[in-house]
């Protein structure tokens, strides 16, 4: 076991898969000579050369076209979006092309590519660099959407993504990138631990119970899983036992695990970093209502971010997304407290 930061887990997954499979290459802005905007591909250009670590112009449509075409032709591209917000520039390539190609050509082609990059709220990056746009991808058949919360899942899910035969959107939590292992382990012992085995992977569509509990189920993904764990710590001090379920992947979505938990706790809080309206928390709440209504002792609670573009001012930014305290309040509400 190694204790890694989230960003180190990304580097480790990319490097191991590039060593294992020479069809894998990385393309993106500043991934090579600049050593990666956030350093995750530092040293890659020197190690793998310019055909496998491709510095691109600021042309997201071109980057994704490069990925889609080469994937159809049998390579396994990893397209880096410097920020997932920038994928919006090339949304057509993702939605109208990558996601559709297998189906509309009757299965004649596959598109084994990864589109990855930092996502979600950062630190004072404001409206155009802080969005968590997973809903826009998870709504579309043909895509897979991965949102890891822990360094181990970041590594294991990214490796699975790179071995998958479909277009996979890997949305990395910028806010977790450089969180120190000590800080993570203080939230939950062992949270920063990543297996050393190069064959370690994490399958898609299998949610993870990170903390067992009996009174209420807290359901999150990405940064919100960490917030749920913090909330569970606070609730424990008040004698409330919260179970934390990390969804890991939104598409495919594992509802069996959260529903099994709800059958035990009879209460659920679903947490999403940003806009709740028509969001993932809404979808999960609806599925709980359809499949576990009679197991519930209280209405499902949603905790979501403010329905505003991300503000710049630090104090406003800090109150724009769910805090552990917001989750604690929602959990208590399900318990009538």
């Amino acid at each position: 076991m190694a204790r890694l930061r989230y960003a180190d887990a990304i580097t480790s997954a990319l490097r191991e898969e590039m060593l294992a499979d020479d069809r894998v290459f990385i393309a993106g802005e500043e991934v090579g000579q600049y050593l990666g905007t956030l350093g995750v591909t530092s040293g890659f250009l020197k190690e793998f050369g310019p055909m496998r670590v491709v510095d691109t112009p600021i042309s997201e449509v071109g980057i994704l076209g490069l990925g889609i075409g080469s994937a159809m032709a049998g390579l396994r591209p990893v397209c880096e979006m410097m920020r997932m917000d920038f994928a919006m520039v090339a949304y057509d390539q993702v939605i109208n092309h990558a996601a559709k190609i297998r189906y509309m050509f009757g299965g004649q082609f596959k598109v084994p590519m990864v589109i990855r990059g930092p996502s979600g709220v950062g630190r004072q990056l404001s409206a155009q660099h802080s969005q968590s746009l997973e809903v826009l991808f998870a709504h579309v058949p043909g895509l897979k959407v991965v949102m890891p919360a822990t360094p181990a899942d970041m590594k294991g899910l990214l490796k699975t993504a790179m071995r998958d035969d479909n277009p996979v959107i890997v949305m990395e939590a910028l806010r977790l990138y450089f969180e120190k292992p000590d800080v993570l382990d203080a939230i939950l012992p062992g949270l920063s631990e990543v297996p050393d085995d190069p064959d370690f992977t994490v399958p898609f569509g299998k949610a993870n119970v990170l903390r067992a509990g009996t009174d209420v189920t807290l359901i999150g993904y990405s940064t919100m899983t960490i917030q749920c764990l913090k909330a569970a710590n606070i609730l424990a001090q008040e004698g409330i036992s919260a179970e934390v379920v990390d969804l890991r992947t939104l598409l495919p979505l594992d509802m069996a695990t959260p529903i099994a938990s709800i059958k035990k706790t009879h209460r659920a809080v679903v947490v999403q970093e940003q806009w709740g309206l028509y969001g993932c928390a809404a979808e999960i709440s609806a599925q709980i209502a359809e499949r576990a209504f009679y197991d519930l002792d209280a209405p499902v609670q949603r905790v979501t971010g403010a329905f505003v573009p991300m503000p710049f001012a630090r104090n406003l930014e800090n109150i724009s997304f769910p805090s552990e305290h917001d989750i604690v309040i929602a959990a208590k509400r399900t318990l009538g407290r």
Binding site: F25, V61, G62, G65, L66, I68, G69, N96, G106
Partner: protein, 333 residues
């Protein structure tokens, strides 16, 4: 061109025949459109009549069996036929049948043939162009001595995707032929009304990319020039932009009726093009002049082409619609 002693006339007779096959295929669809629902046809229908020499001459210059490949847009029936795809499977796709090349899930706009290097027809104007960059990149990545051709129309050149792609293609020296089929109209909008600079070829000069303009109605010019360019691209990988000047006989799609067409072009203009710019007529006259075609041979080819199109339609008509279980298949690999 007749003075060139190296011209492989047997090949051009074959090209002529292919053009006739495509024309008869498209014209049969045009005719049967009146009875579309009975065949399973619907939605959009973009016919290639008038532009045949481009697909036949260019695809005919590639070695698909050895790994050359191509990608198209939604006016895509002709590409598949030029590549040798089974006409029955193409027609069945156009009619949404289970035996179609895309299992009836793509329709007219999404014909493909992976075995022949046809990476498909796409419905978003300009959206296929970035994918060609990736196809070319894969050839270069594997050090293959191959080329990829990307067909698109003049409308695509006003999409940002086109400009991002050409810049990167030249930057990375990928072996992609960017084949502009300039038929003068992006749906109902003429070049004059949509391009600030109407010299379309000059628009790519800013990328420092090799470019050439070819009369897309002249199969001899299309093929001789493309064969030479492809050979050079295989020796030294680089992209090339080719402007094929051409003309489409039918409306943009089936919904572009004579009435809607009257908003952007006259019947006289279409009649003049059919009379003076027809690629089949042009090839026919040359080949007759060169003595390798006879009126008898022409009549025979046309009869066989018509019969082939009819047989394709019959194959489609006799084919079942996709099983309902197909609805949810092939979303993921």
């Amino acid at each position: 061109m007749a003075k060139k002693p190296t011209l492989d006339l047997t090949k051009y007779v074959r090209f002529y025949e292919q053009m006739v096959y495509i024309r008869e295929f498209e014209e049969l669809i045009g005719k049967e459109w009146n009875n579309a629902a009975a065949h399973g046809m619907g939605g959009y229908m973009h016919l290639y009549s008038g532009e045949e020499a481009i697909a036949v001459g260019l695809i005919g210059g590639m070695d698909l069996a050895a790994g050359d490949c191509f990608i198209g847009h939604y006016r895509d029936h002709g590409y598949a036929l030029a590549a040798g795809s089974d006409p029955g499977e193409v027609m069945a796709e156009i009619c949404g049948k289970a035996t179609g090349c895309s299992k009836g899930k793509g329709g007219s706009m999404h014909i493909c043939d992976a075995a022949r290097g046809f990476y498909g027809g796409y419905g978003i104007v300009g959206g296929n162009v970035p994918i060609a960059l990736g196809l070319g990149w894969a050839l270069k990545y594997r050090n293959q001595k191959n080329v990829c051709a990307c067909f698109f129309g003049d409308g695509s050149m006003n999409q940002g995707a086109f400009h991002e792609t050409l810049n990167m293609a030249q930057l990375y020296k990928v072996p992609v032929i960017f084949a502009l089929e300039n038929n003068g109209y992006a749906m109902g909008t003429s070049i004059e009304r949509s391009h600030a600079n109407q010299n379309l070829r000059s628009r790519v000069d800013s990328f420092a990319m090799r470019s050439v303009t070819i009369n897309g109605q002249d199969i001899f010019e299309v093929h001789e020039q493309m064969a030479q360019i492809i050979q050079e691209m295989k020796e030294d990988p680089h992209p090339v932009f080719v402007e094929f000047k051409t003309y489409r006989y039918h409306g943009h799609g089936a919904a572009d009726t004579p009435v809607t067409q009257s908003t952007y072009r006259t019947r006289d203009e279409v009649a003049r093009a059919k009379d003076q710019l027809d690629p089949i007529k042009f090839a026919q006259e040359k080949l007759l002049e060169l003595g390798v075609l006879t009126d008898e041979l022409i009549a025979d080819m046309q009869a066989r082409a018509y019969a082939s199109a009819e047989a394709a339609m019959k194959f489609s008509d006799d084919s079942p619609y996709p099983d309902p279980s197909e609805l949810i298949k092939d979303v993921y690999a």
